[in-house]
Structure formats: C-alpha cells, structure tokens
C-alpha cells in the first residue's frame, strides 16, 4: 500500500500492533534529556528499582537553566542549580552520557543531537521538550513527551502511542532573496493557525523546501509544534546525507552505504494520500514577523498592525484585542515603525552556525542602533567555537553585540537572560507568548536577517531596508 514518509517511519518502529483500540507499541531510537523535565523520571525509576534499558540510546545535556556568562562560577539561582546538579547526579548514578556546562558538546538538546550525527533519517527521537520536532528535518519521526513518558522510555525504550494523522505542506517555487526558512514557517503558522496542526505530522515538501539547507529545514520543523502539530518531517535527500556524513556518530564505511540505501526509500509514495494538504507559493512570501502573543499572529513585514475588526471570528477578534493591549500596539502602525529595545539572536530555532553567519553578513560594515541591546547566543558550545574560528565573534563584538555562551537563554528566560517589564524584543526564537522572555516582556518573532537589520535600524526591518546604509564591503557590485 502506498504510504507517506511518516507512515513508513512509524511502520518500521512498531514493536507490537495494538489490538481492540489499544495503542501501538513504538520503538524509540534516541532519547535526549535535559535538566528540567527529567528529574521525576529518574526518581520514578529509582522508586520502582528499575534501570534504563538502553543507556546507549540516551544523551543528556544542560541547556534550559544554564547561565550564558560566567559559566565557570556556581549558578546563582538556587532552583536552576538544583535542577542541574540533579541531572548530573542522575546521569552519574544511572550511567547516562552527559555534556555539562563547559563541555565542548554542551548546548541546546536540539542543536547537539544533529551536530553529533546522532539524529539521522528514519529514526524515532523523543525528548521532554516540545521542540523535539526539530529533528524531523532529517526525515526522523521526532516529538516531545511528558515526564512520565520520559520515564517510560528510560525503562522500556518504547512508548504506547496511537498513529498520528498526516498533513502535506507543499511550498512551490523558490524564495526571493532575503526571505528565509523562518519566514516560510511563520507564514505557514499564520495560515493554518496555532491549532491547525493538532494531531498531525506535517510533511514539508516542494521545491522551496528541497532548496533549503539542513539548518533551514530544522528551523521549519522546529516550529511545527507552534502550529499545534505532533511533529514535522522532511524527506531526506543529498542535502541531508551530506550534512550527516562524517559526523562523530554517523555510520561509516559499508554501514554508511547500507544506511543511505535505506534512507533513499524514505519518501512519500507518489500515490500516497495525506489526511490534509496545504499549498504555499514561495515567491509570494516576504520577510514575516509576529505582531501578537502567539506565533500564528504574524504578517509580512511590509504590513501594518491589524485591528481586531479585521478578524471575522470572535475568538480571533478577542485574541487580537488582548494581544494588542499586551504588546502595546496601535492598529494601523506600520510594522516597520515598531521600535525594539533588544534583539535576541539564538535558540534551537535559529542558533546554528548558518544562522549566525546570516546575521553576521547582514550587519557587516554597518553600525548598531545605539539604543538597541543585541544578544548573540550560540545554540551549542561547538557553534560558538566554530563562529570564533570564522571570526564572527569579533564582528559581533565590534558591532556592539553581546557574545554569550551556549544555551536556551532568552528564548524562555529561565536563566537571568530576561526582558524587563515593558521591554520589546525582536527574537529569532519560536514563542512570543506573554511573559515568555521575561515578565511583561514583548516579543516579535523574526528571522536572523530581520533580527540583524532591526539591530541596525532600531525598528523592525528587513535587509532590503538597509540599502544605502552599508559600507561597500557588504554590497557586491551589480
């Protein structure tokens, strides 16, 4: 029978089919762990006298709570320190591989997995974190789970689950210059809504998706959860294989050939059907930003702040009213006139090396707006090292940005990296919820190049708004 990519990966992981409405038992290839959602899972094991079934399929890293400066000093916040100490103790007691603060492979779980070559096409990946969907960029079935399920995977390496529905998101054509993966996904969420993907695995396909780098694909899959989806996936291709090849845990030699042969079979069959299909034309997309307090409240940067009356249904009207009040925005204001206090460049959505390069390229030869604070936070310690090797750190520092240590940082402000009440940020992260980046803080989600242009102009801006502000080095002669 013809099947979709998601159905193929599912079928290849069924340990036991559920009968009479029971769930299937699905095998989990890789579980990623971090300090916030794992303590009770380990404690549960201890209580029942259980041990992890497959230590060689677990990997822990510290990210959510970790400071991004002075990482050699004890963590000041007691709750954060306790959670991190607990993860370290649990890893030691149970024998789980951990990359701690200060280690070269420490970083945000979703950056570290792919970077080590552990994330591969066709595998199942889980983590007690909703943005596990990131790993779907490799053609893996990857989704976030709760703490009881983390314990379940530790003990059994499986999860009882009912199959997800499938949705195709086809992005035809090619992106215009200055338009990026982030703009595609913000446009998708604005189109289908923050609940539009509920119960589905989204498969992104079409020319524009094929043309994206792995970093761009990860950005897209990362935010599938913002459309309410269980997971996002992209069929693996040469771009995927090139990215995985040679990484520390990638298959080698004959194994590599065998793996690639299997990976090539991981694509939706021509005659397979999806439960739902959505089509987007890439050449109609522009840089996208959010104006509200959920990731679905986004518009092209050239638009103006909407009015509640622009929405037809009552729920959206009320949501818009509340969002405008919280964001302190007046309908009709051009989005490009919105001034920001902070630019946050980082997170598991856009904290990879390519994102930092894109940011650097846009600020190159330009000056930071004097009143804007710019934080650049690499997604992992390796990304940081790589950026330093390329001299990007020097460009950031010369520009007047802060160059910090790896972690989630201001994406959720569980560490001291927070907005103050009333402060406004252009952020390359994935959630613009009320208070997400600090109590009373206001967030506009943007791509790395929009973040960079905004850092220069002080208001939400795209690279094309910078024409004429550049020193010659950045602008190759036409």
């Amino acid at each position: 029978m013809a099947s979709t990519l998601a159905e193929k990966v599912w079928a290849d992981h069924v340990v036991r089919r559920g009968e009479n409405g029971e769930p299937d038992l699905l095998y989990i290839d890789l579980q990623l762990l971090h300090e916030v959602t794992s303590p009770q899972a380990f404690d549960g094991l201890r209580q029942e006298g259980r041990t992890p079934r497959r230590l060689d399929q677990q990997l822990a890293t510290e990210d959510h709570n970790t400071p991004t400066i002075d990482i050699d000093k004890p963590i000041a916040d007691i709750t954060s320190r306790t959670q991190i100490d607990t993860l370290r103790r649990n890893a030691e007691e149970f024998g789980v591989r951990i990359h701690s603060l200060g280690d070269k492979d420490q970083g945000i779980v979703h950056v570290v997995g792919p970077q080590l070559g552990l994330t591969m096409p066709g595998i199942t990946v889980v983590c007690g974190d909703s943005h596990t969907s990131t790993h779907g960029a490799f053609g893996a079935l990857a989704f976030g789970i709760g703490t009881s399920e983390v314990e379940h995977v530790l003990a059994t390496q499986t999860l009882p689950l009912k199959p997800f529905k499938t949705m195709a998101i086809t992005v035809n054509g090619s992106l215009k210059p200055g338009v990026t993966a982030k703009d595609i996904i913000l446009a998708v969420i604005a189109k289908i809504g923050t609940g539009g993907g509920a119960g589905y695995v989204l498969e992104y396909r079409g020319e524009a998706i094929r043309e994206l780098s792995m970093e761009g694909r990860m950005t897209i899959c990362n935010m599938s959860i913002e459309a309410g989806a269980r997971a996002g996936m992209i069929a693996p291709d040469e771009t995927t294989f090139d990215y995985v090849k040679g990484r520390p845990h990638a298959p080698q030699g004959a194994d590599w050939d065998e793996a690639v042969e299997y990976w090539r079979s991981l694509r939706t069959d021509e005659d397979a059907t999806f439960d739902t299909e959505v089509v987007i034309e890439a050449d109609e997309l522009e840089p996208f930003v959010t104006w509200g307090t959920n990731p679905g409240q986004g518009l092209p940067l050239s638009a103006a702040v909407p009015a509640p009356e622009d929405f037809t249904d009552d729920t959206s009207k009320v949501a818009a009213e509340n969002a405008l009040r919280y964001m302190d925005l007046v309908p009709g204001t051009p989005l490009k006139d919105i001034r920001v206090d902070t630019v946050f460049m980082g997170s598991c959505t856009n904290g990879r090396i390519e994102d930092l390069r894109a940011f650097a390229e846009t600020i190159r030869g330009r000056t930071k707006h004097p009143e804007v604070r710019v934080m650049v936070v690499p997604g992992s310690a390796r990304v940081r090292l790589q950026a330093e090797q390329e001299g990007l750190d020097q460009e950031f520092l010369a520009f007047g940005a802060e160059w910090r240590q790896a972690g989630c940082s201001m994406c959720l402000g569980m560490n001291p990296d927070q907005l103050k009440p009333g402060e406004r940020a252009a952020s390359t992260s994935n959630r613009n919820f009320e208070g997400r980046q600090g109590k009373g803080g206001r967030t506009h989600l943007v791509s790395p190049v929009v973040a960079a242009a905004t850092a220069v102009r002080g208001t939400l801006s795209s690279p094309s708004d910078l024409d004429g502000t550049a020193a010659p080095a950045a602008a190759p002669a036409a």
């Binding site: 038992l25 677990q58 552990l118 065998e258």
Partner: protein, 205 residues
Amino acid sequence: MEAFTTHTGVGVPLRRSNVDTDQIIPAVYLKRVTKTGFDDGLFHAWRTNDPDFVLNQPAYSSGSVLVAGADFGTGSSREHAVWALRDYGFAAVLSPRFADIFRGNAGKQGLVAAQLSQDDIEQIWKILEENPGTEITVDLAERQVHAGEAGAVFRFDIDDYTRWRLMEGLDDIGLTLRHEEDITAFEARRPSWMPKTLPARIAEG
C-alpha cells in the same frame, strides 16, 4: 506499583466539594526535582492554617481512605497532587465525581479513585464522624466499600481497564514490560548503524 485488591484503613471525611489540585498541593512544590516526599505539601494551606481541618485531628491523621465531596482534583493537571496523596499514605479516594485528568493520573500511580453516589458519600461521612478513627475497607475486586460496625456496604464505579491494571499492579511501564520479548526481538532486528550514544564519540578539536 503494588497490586491492589482490598485495602482497609482509617476513613477521613473531607466535607468539601471542588477540591482543586492547587488546594491538594500548591504550586511552590512543583519546583522540586523528586517524585516522592510530597506528603508535607498535601493540603498545605488547610493543614497549616486550620486547626480543625480533618487531618489535624488525631483520630484521622493516620487515615488512608479519603472520602471527599464532588469534583475532586479539578484545575491544573499536576501529577504532584496524586504523588502528595500517595506519599501521605492514602490508598484510595472516594468521591461522587472526579476531574478527568486527576482520575487518569491516579490510575497511573496506583491510587484508587472510586466513584460513589452523593447519598452514599454522605452516609459514609456520618459513619466516620460518629466514630472518628473508624476503618473502612475498599474492595476493588467486588467494587465495594465496607464501613462501620453495622457492616454497611456501598457499591462504587471505576472503569474496567483501570481496575484491571490496579489489580494486576501494573503501571504503564509494567504493562509495556509484559511485552519485553517483543522489544528484545525488535532490537535484534535493528541495523547495527542505528544511532548509539555510547561509547561517546566527539568531533576532533
């Protein structure tokens, strides 16, 4: 999880309805990193501020069957509410109606959530209040509660699947481990190149 067939212990009459999970355990306890030791947080506000609160009375303080009013366990989904009841020593909660998530969480942690009619709950309250410290028996096999010297018997409801799991002493993990042979067989079929985190390999430099 231990198998549950019958349990006998002191009944605690909690004459309140709409006991939400914030009242069962306040949010400050959510910062903890353990899954046990939540007994100190159970009904924290009432236990600290109200000397007459039922668990502050010596006759009931070692109770293990909570007899509560309707809509027990509403509000936040925190699994901690069940952990706190269990850690305090409760084996069962009787109520005319439970919040769905609470009932689901209870089933996962081996706490019996038995649903009785409002009339029956009131009769049990009476029995318990007339003779504080009275023991009651929750018989899961027969779906019955036995209370008081006169041997009053009440029927309760609990869904078949949860009852079966509790009687077998199976938590979700225990249930899955019944299929351990299938898991082992599946693992034997996996290609050798699937990702392995151990031994650790890291990039050079």
